[in-house]
Amino acid sequence: MNIHPGEIYKSFLYAARFIPVTLYITLVPLLLCIVVGGIIAVLRVYRIPVLSSILDFLISILKGIPAVLFLVATSLLFATRFDNLAKLLHLGIRARDVDAVYLAIFVLTVTSIPSLSESFRGALLSVPRGQYEAGYSVGMTKVQTFFRVILPQAFFVILPSLTNNTIGLLKGSSLVYMIGVTDILNSALKPANATYAFLESYIAAAIIYWILCAGIELIGKGLEVYFGKYKRGATL
C-alpha cells in the first residue's frame, strides 16, 4: 500500500473546514423532515380520510425515486425555469443569486421524508391506545393529548431510528456536490487534484465522518436516556 500520511493530514485539514457545511445540509433537512414527515405520519396514523390514502401512495412513489434523479431534475428545472417564473412574478431574484445550498436542502429534505415519516409512523403506532383515551378522559382535546402525551412517548421510541436517519442523511448529503455544494467528502478530495492522492483523501473523509457519526450516536443515546427517564428504574 502506497499511503502518504502527510496527504491524509492535508485532506483532513481541508475537509475539516467544511464540517459546518455538511452539518448544515444534514441538520436543516433533518429538522424539516421531522416536521413534515411528522405531520405526514400523524395524518396517516389518524387515518384522515382521502388525504391519508393519497399520502400512502405518494410515499411509496417517493421511496422509489432515486435521490440523484430528484436532484438533477430539480436543479435542471430550477436552472432553466426559475428566471422565467421570477420575471413573471416580478421578483428581482434570479437563479444565479440563489445559493445552491438551498436547493440542496430542498432536495435532501424531500428525498428523506419517506424514511423519516415511516419511522414516525411506527413510533406513533407503538404508543398504546389507552394513552390517547387517558388523555381524553381527563378532558384534554385531541391536539393537547397528542402533544403532551403521545408525542413525548413516540419520540422516545423513534430516537434509535432518528439516529439512523441522521447518519444516513449525513453520509447521503455528499450527493449535493452534483449541484456545486462542497461538503466534507468533496473538499477532502480537493488536495488530491494536484497529487492524485485520492486514497488519502478518502481516508481523511472517513475519519471525519466516523467521528461525526459517533458524536451523533452519542447524542442519540443521551437523548434516549433523557427522554426515557420515565422508563428508568422500571420495576414492572
Binding site: 398504546p128 389507552g130 394513552q131 383515551e133 387517558a134 388523555g135 381524553y136 378522559s137 381527563v138 378532558g139 384534554m140 382535546t141 393537547q144 403532551r148 402525551v149 413525548p152 412517548q153 422516545f156 427517564k229 420515565y230 422508563k231 428508568r232 428504574g233 422500571a234 420495576t235 414492572l236
Partner: protein, 250 residues
C-alpha cells in the same frame, strides 16, 4: 344525577348496546355486572365519549346531550363532568404520579399550575401516595398505579366517576385495599358507576346493581334483592357461576 336513555352502539355489524336505560341519583354508587362481552365497558366508554354511541341521550344534572348530534364542545363539557378509571390504569407513561394528576387540571381546566399541584397533592394524600408523587408509572406497583388513576379521577371533581373493573388487574392482596379506597370515596358522596365482579364489594357499597346481558339491562335493583333473589333466570345463572360458593364438580 345521571340518566341514560336508549343508548345504542354498533361495531361493524355487531350491535353491542341495544338501548340501555338507567338512572343514577347524585351520590349513588351503581355496580354494573354482567358476563363478558355484555357491553359493560362499551357503556362506560360511551358515557365518557371514548366511544360515540349512535343513538341515545345522556343527562347529567340539567345538561342533556343527544349522542347523535353531540358537538365537540358538548363532548368536552361532558368529559369535564365524568372521569374514568381504567382497568389497566392507563397512566400517562411519560409523566410522574403528580403530573398525571395535575395534567387534566392544568391543560383541560386551565387551573394555574401551583393551585393544580396543591389539589393534586391532596388527592394523592387521599389515596395514600404522598411519598410517591415524583415516581413514574413504571416505577410503581399495579396497586399504586391504580391509586394514581383514582387520584387523577377524583382531583377533577367530576359529577360521576366511571370505574371499569378497577381491581381485575391487581394482585389478590391489593384488591381489598383498592376497593376500600373506592368505598372511602363513595362515602364522600361522589356518584360512581363501577363495573366489577367483586360481589362482596357490591353488596357492601352499592346502592344499586345493574345486571347487563347482550347489550341490555336485564335486571336492576338493590344489591340484596339482586344477589339473594334475582328475578331473571339469566341473572341467576350468571351469579351461580361467579359467586365464591362455586361448585367445581363436573
Amino acid at each position: 344525577m345521571i340518566e341514560l336513555r336508549n343508548i345504542q352502539k354498533t361495531f361493524g355489524r355487531n350491535q353491542v348496546l341495544r338501548g340501555v336505560n338507567f338512572r343514577v341519583e347524585h351520590g349513588d354508587v351503581v355496580v354494573v355486572l354482567g358476563p363478558s362481552g355484555s357491553g359493560k365497558t362499551t357503556l362506560l366508554r360511551c358515557i365518557n365519549f371514548l366511544e360515540k354511541a349512535e343513538e341515545g341521550f345522556l343527562r347529567i344534572n340539567n345538561q342533556e346531550i343527544n349522542f347523535k348530534t353531540a358537538s365537540r364542545k358538548q363532548i368536552l363539557d361532558i368529559r369535564k363532568q365524568t372521569a374514568f378509571v381504567f382497568q389497566n390504569y392507563n397512566l400517562f407513561q411519560n409523566k410522574t404520579a403528580l403530573e398525571n394528576v395535575t395534567e387534566g387540571l392544568i391543560i383541560a381546566r386551565k387551573i394555574p399550575k401551583k393551585e393544580a399541584e396543591e389539589r393534586a397533592r391532596e388527592a394523592l394524600k387521599k389515596v395514600g401516595l404522598t411519598d410517591r408523587e415524583a415516581y413514574y408509572p413504571q416505577q410503581l406497583s399495579g396497586g399504586q398505579q391504580q391509586r394514581v388513576g383514582i387520584a387523577r379521577a377524583i382531583v377533577l371533581n367530576p359529577e360521576v366517576i366511571l370505574f371499569d373493573e378497577p381491581t381485575s388487574a391487581l394482585d389478590p392482596e391489593l384488591v381489598g385495599e383498592t376497593l376500600k379506597l373506592i368505598r372511602k370515596i363513595a362515602a364522600e358522596g361522589i356518584t360512581m358507576i363501577v363495573v366489577t365482579h367483586e360481589i362482596a364489594f357490591a353488596s357492601d357499597v352499592a346502592n344499586k346493581v345493574v345486571f347487563m346481558d347482550g347489550g341490555m339491562v336485564v335486571e336492576e335493583g338493590r344489591p340484596q334483592e339482586i344477589f339473594t333473589n334475582p328475578k331473571e333466570e339469566r341473572t341467576r345463572q350468571f351469579l351461580r357461576r361467579i359467586l365464591p360458593e362455586n361448585d367445581y364438580s363436573i
